[in-house]
Subunit: 161 residues, 2 copies
Amino acid sequence: MSQVSFGLDTTGATRLEAYLHAHIPLVRSMQVRVDHWDADGLRLSAPLAANLNHEGTAFGGSLESLAVLAGWGLLWLLLEPQPGTHIVVAESHARFLRPVTGTLEAFCPLPDAAVRQTFLETLQRHGKARLDLQSRIVLHDQVCVTFAGRFAAHRAEPHAP
Amino acid sequence: MSQVSFGLDTTGATRLEAYLHAHIPLVRSMQVRVDHWDADGLRLSAPLAANLNHEGTAFGGSLESLAVLAGWGLLWLLLEPQPGTHIVVAESHARFLRPVTGTLEAFCPLPDAAVRQTFLETLQRHGKARLDLQSRIVLHDQVCVTFAGRFAAHRAEPHAP
């Protein structure tokens, strides 16, 4: 599947990583990396050593944070051409299925084109819109954490009535 | 309500804070404090400066982490007299109602005595048990985040059949 056909600017990964590190101290502590962004979705990672828990596996808070960041970051990349749009997480649901014993790797798949279009049109028309995104933490092809996030975007400036 | 009547060792707050800081690097980055532990429940806090997001309010990942830690910490305190018991978060559900613009304060109420007793008896009998805990993040008496966590405890050593 061609990246170009999606109209995505895949160079955004570098900008997203710089933005996250500049604005969110915990992202620096977690040593989050933006690994890949294309028509499949967004991949983030973080080293285990910076994100350990008392059992020597990944801390639940780090896993939730990385999953939130995968969804939030995907929306940031979709909305990057529209400066002045705020994105926040409104709701989250995580299931911790297996301990993560290596590098934390989060993947948030890109929603279908129709879902993205509805979201962008709603934001355009009403100045705000919500999008449900699912991310997951995977280790050695096994899903360790599933995460469903509801994200809300709104424009900073008042929209026309 | 007397603390003594609950049989809780309220000096555990100091030990819990030391344990978290010793074992979870992100707890140090977040500068988590264990503020209070008594018959009402467990209170944790973290300064906003260490937990900012791109909007200058509290980062969603920090809020989730603090809420997880409030539930996990409460269980740790309940089970402190039983060394060798592992506690992990199995599932979580958070609703972000309002931005947190000051110190992050999480509170996890102590479950009813009957709920605690059932949990401890199940753990005793089967070597494992689950407990649902609700925490919340409050700022100026307004609930900003609600959090429901399902925690699983199991004994390290095999239990008798």
